[in-house]
């Protein structure tokens, strides 16, 4: 007992006897406090180092320049942000519809439908989005000598929507499979045909289950819509990234990119908070 008073109350384990650091010989609660204290100290040191070494005037001038930011408004909101929202919405809507079709194909009894859906999904999950956009925007016109009809919207919708459909198809399929089999069987035994039971009983429940992952897909697509910038769209059809990049050239200042970034966060952070709330609600319901 005398020994344990010297070394702390829980001496005895073979590890503790080989005291490898001063921390190891402390009582557990005190050790926790000391470790946490060290972490705070490191944080404060780093913070002070950053504050002291960074060239604040240059930062303010180059990235957060209010004089340069002012002329960006209102176009950054009325044109760029609006177009980002429109492109994302169009791509997402297209992706959802095609994704649902693909999900049903993957669950089909008819093998060739399953194969087709699998090939589509693996193809679009495997190729880079940027390459696909180049293909639609420049590859197709070069090969055929013609623009796609409804340019640039066609390239934007297909460019964002077709790859999104591949990811959404997998999410929707998982949702459909998460609906208990009894639901479909109950609806059928009550007189519904298989397709009608699928449409009015299973799919609505599947979507309710997958709202959180779908919202995550929407966040990803919002960010991916920035790649549309490479399609060389015209003034009225610029979205946030293209807008920011063009203003960067005009103003010779990085502030427009920062403003564009903040605009993305304006969309993604509320969505992200929404996902968290939905997930919390689902967890409670379960």
């Amino acid at each position: 007992m005398a020994l344990s008073q010297d070394r702390g109350p829980d001496v005895g384990g073979p590890l503790r006897r080989r005291s490898w650091s001063p921390l190891a010989s402390m009582p557990r609660t005190r050790r926790t406090r000391v470790v946490r204290g060290i972490q705070y100290a490191v944080f404060v040191v780093l913070l002070v180092a950053v504050v002291l070494t960074v060239d604040w005037p240059t930062i303010r001038e180059g990235y957060f320049n209010l004089d340069k930011a002012r002329p960006l408004f209102p176009e950054v909101l009325t044109t760029a942000l609006k177009n980002t929202l429109i492109y994302t919405a169009m791509g997402f809507a297209f992706g959802l519809v095609l994704g649902l079709v693909l999900a049903l194909m993957r669950l089909s009894q008819v093998a060739p439908y399953r194969w087709l859906a699998n090939i589509y999904i693996e193809f679009f999950r495997g190729i880079p989005l940027l390459l696909w956009l180049f293909f639609l925007g420049y590859g197709v016109p070069t090969a055929t000598g013609r623009q796609l009809p409804f340019s640039p919207y066609s390239a934007i919708v297909l460019g964002l929507g077709m790859p999104a459909a591949a990811y959404l198809a997998e999410t929707i399929r998982a949702g459909i499979q998460a609906v208990p089999k009894g639901q479909l069987e109950a609806a059928r035994s009550l007189g519904m045909s298989q397709p009608r039971a699928m449409v009015s009983i299973v799919i609505p429940q599947a979507f309710r289950i997958i709202i959180p992952p779908l919202t995550n897909e929407l966040i990803v697509l919002t960010k991916d819509s920035s790649l549309v910038a490479i399609l060389g769209v015209t003034v009225g059809t610029k979205e946030l990234t293209k807008f920011g990049r063009d203003e960067l050239n005009t103003l010779v200042n990085a502030t427009p990119l920062v403003v564009a970034g903040l605009c993305y966060l304006l969309i993604t952070i509320p969505l992200s908070l929404l996902v968290r709330r939905l997930e919390a609600r689902n967890a409670r319901a379960r």
Partner: protein
């Protein structure tokens, strides 16, 4: 509304779920499909409903070949073990579901739903959601939903399997009464012999995809077709290598014709009756140990014999109440 199942086979990969099954279910009967899990009883029910397609064989409902009829055209009501309630609909809308599909007039639907909710004692829960009901209430709702469309046959797959023992017992009696009221041909699956005996007027015993025996509860209990049915339907013990019901053992203080001497090992009260564990003297059991047998006697008999460990009694099968399998396995 009779159901005929003729020489039906069904396999899932390597697993034989139904092996040449033939069953006749008369109109208006209340039939139990009884057997251990994996015995094929649920598959048979699902084949009758059209939820599974048989590999071969014929299913007839009301004298009409049903093999090619989809589920929704078979006129069956199906009740699932886990209720399969439509969570997004109220109790009343759940019950109305089948009628709404059939586009019945609104007033008629309302009247019928009210009647059914009364029948299943849920009239005060019409506007609740399934999540606000207890397990027993949900199952009663599922039953009302299945009955709403006036099915030719009502099929229940382990209807009380997910409920606790007390609710189970209540619902059993209630199902029996309900059947007396509505008289729809009813088939239910259970692995609980007590449930089958208590509720059904006809029992189909199934094991390993085969029908072992079909008959009334009394038939099965008193004239089991084989050792399996005998041991599945009630307690059994072995005397001289043969199955016997413990309450069919006679005890004597002195040797009688055909008796063997046995030593009392233990005496246990089972409520009204007494379980007596015995060792047959001078005979080895199947594993080389003592030949153990147990008898079930009334308390009166136990007191009359002053049964206690170490006492020697003489036992035999009661010749007048002999239950023994028709063919020994």
């Amino acid at each position: 509304m009779s159901i005929k199942v003729n020489r039906v086979n069904k396999t899932f990969g390597e697993f034989v779920a139904l092996d040449d099954v033939t069953v006749d279910i008369p109109a208006g009967s209340l039939t139990a499909l009884l057997g251990p899990s994996g015995g094929g009883k649920s598959t048979l029910l699902r084949v009758i409903a059209g939820l599974e397609k048989p590999d071969s064989g014929l299913v007839e409902i009301e004298g009409r070949e049903a093999n090619h009829l989809p589920v929704q055209e078979r006129g069956v009501g199906f009740v699932f073990q886990h209720y399969a309630a439509f969570k997004h609909l109220t109790v009343a809308r759940n019950v109305a579901f089948g009628l709404e599909i059939r586009k019945r007039p609104k007033a008629e639907i309302k009247k019928r739903v009210a009647e059914l909710l009364e029948l299943v004692h849920l009239e005060n829960f019409a506007h609740r959601y399934p999540s606000q009901l207890s397990g027993g209430q949900r199952q009663r709702m599922a039953l009302a939903r299945a009955l709403a469309v006036e099915p030719a046959v009502l099929l229940l797959d382990e209807p009380f399997g997910a409920l606790d023992a007390q609710v189970r017992k209540e619902l059993r009696i209630w199902l029996r009464k309900l059947h007396e009221e509505v008289h729809v041909t009813t088939v239910f699956v259970t692995h609980d012999q007590e449930e089958a005996m208590e509720v059904a007027d006809s029992i189909v015993v199934m094991a390993n995809g085969k029908v072992e025996q079909i008959g009334s509860p009394d038939d099965l209990y008193d004239k089991p077709a084989n050792d399996f049915v005998m041991s599945f339907l009630g307690p059994v013990t072995k005397l001289g290598g043969q199955l016997v019901r413990p309450h069919d053992l006679e005890l004597f203080t002195v040797p009688e014709q055909d008796t063997v001497a046995a030593t009392v090992e233990r005496v246990t009260r089972l409520g009204f009756e007494v379980r007596v564990d015995l060792n047959v003297n001078g005979r080895a059991g199947p594993e080389g140990g003592p030949d153990e047998v147990w008898a079930q006697v009334t308390r009166g008999t136990a007191e009359q014999f002053a049964l206690e460990p170490g006492k020697t009694v003489h036992i035999r099968r009661a010749p007048d109440r002999l239950v023994q399998p028709a063919r020994s396995a």
